[in-house]
């Protein structure tokens, strides 16, 4: 369960998030949509603990823990995962080694047994296959020379191996063709269940045809302006953000 209450965050003294309230119960998938500059990516970075943001008000609890007081690696061990909008390249770091190091670091922090190379490869190969990736991607350096679609699939692979309780997908659909989109969506849908929830940040409704959300929220000017069921995404697609943002401004 993720509970965000009145979250306000600034970067270089500029307010980006301006009082966000959002609750994601276990097992649910929520989509956050909004125009460029609405604060969508900032929300994902503040939740995952990236440096450079200052939280000036509000709170975030994650399964009862104060998420904002935790280091990024502690958040990961607690079960939070961020699929990056722009996955980082790590030259000189092998993909398989990286994933095993991450998985074992999380296991260690949780007091669970670590996986040896053989156990890990068996697990990773299974997930690679499900994502229609070539096994070669495990041997390559992390994201180095990967196409845009391969990078996004690699993010989903990491999610599948690390098995988070909450996955934040930050515009994972951007730059994907329709086949890759389907594979990525299948990867997320495969995790669905009572112990998995997700926050899908997207600009377009397209991804939500494949991953049908329980709730859709509209984020603009640093606040959730509207929330609704999956139909809200279609309404946005039809009317655009401008109409909706204007309407809310009039109502206020």
């Amino acid at each position: 369960m993720l509970e965000i209450r009145g979250l306000t965050a600034t970067i270089d003294d500029k307010t980006i998030l301006n009082g966000i309230d959002l609750t994601i119960p276990p097992g649910e998938i929520h989509a956050v949509m909004g125009p460029n500059g609405a604060g969508k990516s900032t929300l994902s970075y503040v939740l995952s603990g990236r440096e450079g943001y200052e939280v000036t008000a509000g709170s975030v609890t994650f399964y009862g823990q104060d998420l904002l007081a935790m280091e990024p690696e502690e958040r990961a061990a607690a079960g939070l995962f961020l699929a990056f909008q722009y996955p980082v390249e790590l030259p000189g770091v092998g993909n398989a080694n990286f994933l095993r190091t991450a998985l074992n670091a999380i296991h260690r922090r949780r007091g669970e047994p670590e996986l040896d190379a053989v156990q890990f490869l068996k697990l990773a190969r299974g997930e690679v296959k499900k994502l229609a990736m070539s096994e070669d991607m495990l041997k390559r350096n992390v994201n180095v020379g990967f196409s845009g679609g391969e990078k996004k699939r690699n993010e989903v692979l990491q999610m599948a191996v690390l098995k988070p309780k909450l996955a934040i997908l930050d515009e994972t659909d951007s730059g994907l063709d329709i086949d890759a989109l389907r594979i990525v969506a299948d990867g997320v849908n495969a995790q669905r269940g009572p112990g998995f929830s997700s926050l899908i940040i997207t600009h377009y409704q397209r991804l939500l045809d494949y991953i049908v959300p329980d709730r859709v929220h509209v984020l603009a000017e640093g606040r959730i302006l509207r929330s609704g069921g999956p139909e809200l995404a279609h309404e946005l697609e039809a009317r655009g953000y401008a109409g909706l943002v204007g309407e809310s401004a009039e109502a206020a």
């Binding site: 961020l82 980082v88 000189g92 991450a102 670091a105």
Partner: protein, 438 residues
């Protein structure tokens, strides 16, 4: 009003050198080999002193901390060898062990396919300036003057000599000492060898080895150097290499230890299609200074030289890389490449980089480049967001930075030794420095 000219304070007398010259006078009759080269070296030192930062090749490395000390003659106690040997990496195979610059047969295991002898037992009498240039390189003159012993290694024509460890241990734990081992390697036509040269020790000392390497046609030497001297040590080493046609000198120098260290390599490509690789990594913390200085001389056509030098610096550490490439008029179709990259892990760390290309041939390809940077915060966050703790994430990125320099070391056992040495450094010096910095 005329400005008062700035005056650099007069340099204090070189106490270390004065003591070495006195020692030579006392030792002269007992040293092996002919007197002439030693006397000449002493004369050079008496006349010119040793290098100061006023001389260009020594601009970035000031030997003043060495000069202030008096180094005693090393008289290792028997028990020292067995204790010092624990500083060598755990690697199986034949080994030649020197303690305080003297061969220790009791600690060595001779290689089966390689002829070995010592400088003290005959090596010196065959004359010992095969390739060394004591008149130009005055620390080599110091070695020539005082060298007592060293390894003489000879691999016969067509023989693969396999792996050999050359361990150089110095015992400075009782009092401040100096050792000047003098090694010579000869690989005959088509011969090959993997040499792991390790320098280590305890306490305060000066280790001043000279290695002369002669590679005949088609010979292949892999020379991996691990400098993990004690934290108080001074390490000043010089390697001379001469390659005949189609010979390959493949070297990697990893420097981790010493308060002040300089590794100097002079490699000459003397026959067509020879190749020289002078790769290095310098990983330093605290107030350490590490200098990697190379001179590659292309004296024949169609030769290649390659250099990737990486420095990882933390605390107030400083590293120097001076890479000079000389291409003679005859050396057409030379292919030279040099890359120097530094990773500065703290704001007070410093790298001094000086590439020098001197090209007299007109049909050559020579390139060089240098980069300096810190760890990328985006990469660091990416790793941490996957559950990897900050310190481990930094180590992963440091190791990744070193990867392409280490890749040149293809011998698996040797590479494991290097990786273990870096890991150990990180878990001691690196982490401690990080803790201070944060």
């Amino acid at each position: 009003m005329a400005a008062t000219p700035l005056r650099t304070p007069a340099r204090a007398p070189n106490a270390a050198l004065a003591a070495f010259l006195t020692r030579y006078d006392g030792l002269r009759e007992r040293l092996p080999g002919p007197h002439e080269p030693r006397d000449a070296a002493a004369e050079v030192l008496r006349e010119m002193g040793w290098p100061t930062p006023k001389e260009e090749p020594w601009h970035y490395t000031n030997l003043r901390p060495v000069e202030a000390q008096v180094f005693h003659e090393a008289v290792a106690e028997t028990g020292d060898g067995t204790r010092l040997i624990a500083h060598l990496p755990a690697v199986a195979g034949p080994r030649l062990i020197f303690v305080d610059g003297r061969f220790r047969g009791d600690l060595s295991a001779l290689p089966p396919d390689v002829t070995t002898s010592t400088f003290a037992e005959g090596g010196a009498s065959s004359g010992f300036d095969l390739l060394a240039r004591p008149k130009r390189d005055r620390l080599v003159a110091l070695n020539t003057m005082l060298a007592e012993d060293g390894a003489i290694i000879d691999v016969a024509e067509g023989i693969d000599g396999g792996f050999l460890l050359l361990g150089q241990l110095t015992s400075g734990q009782h009092r401040r000492v100096a050792s000047h081992p003098r090694h010579r390697l000869r690989l005959r036509r088509g011969a090959s060898l993997v040499l792991l040269e390790v320098s280590a020790g305890e306490g305060e000392y000066l280790h001043n080895p000279v290695i002369e390497i002669d590679l005949a046609e088609g010979a292949h030497l892999t020379h991996v150097r691990l400098q993990q001297e004690s934290a108080e040590a001074f390490h000043l080493s010089t390697v001379y290499v001469d390659t005949a046609a189609r010979a390959t000198y493949d070297s990697f120098s990893l420097s981790l230890g010493a308060q002040l260290g300089r590794s100097e390599i002079h490699a000459r490509l003397g026959g067509a299609q020879a190749a020289v690789h002078l790769n290095a990594a310098q990983i330093m913390g605290g107030t350490q200074l590490s200098d990697f200085t190379t001179v590659i001389t292309h004296d024949a056509p169609n030769c290649a030289s390659r250099q990737t030098v990486k420095s990882v610096l933390i605390g107030r550490a400083r590293a120097v890389f001076q890479g000079r490439i000389e291409v003679a008029r005859v050396a057409q179709k030379t292919d030279g490449y040099q890359m120097n990259q530094a990773l500065l892990l703290s704001p007070d760390a410093e790298i001094n980089s000086k590439p020098e290309l001197e090209i007299y041939a007109d049909d050559v390809k020579c390139s060089h480049g240098a980069t300096v940077g810190a760890l990328d915060p985006e990469q660091l966050f990416y790793l941490r967001s996957r559950g990897i703790a900050a310190a481990e994430a930094r180590m992963i990125l440091v190791r990744a930075f070193l990867t392409d320099a280490f890749e040149a070391v293809t011998h698996e056992g040797v590479r494991a030794v290097l990786e273990h040495a870096v890991e150990t450094w990180w878990n001691t010096t690196g982490r401690a420095a990080e803790a201070l910095a944060s």
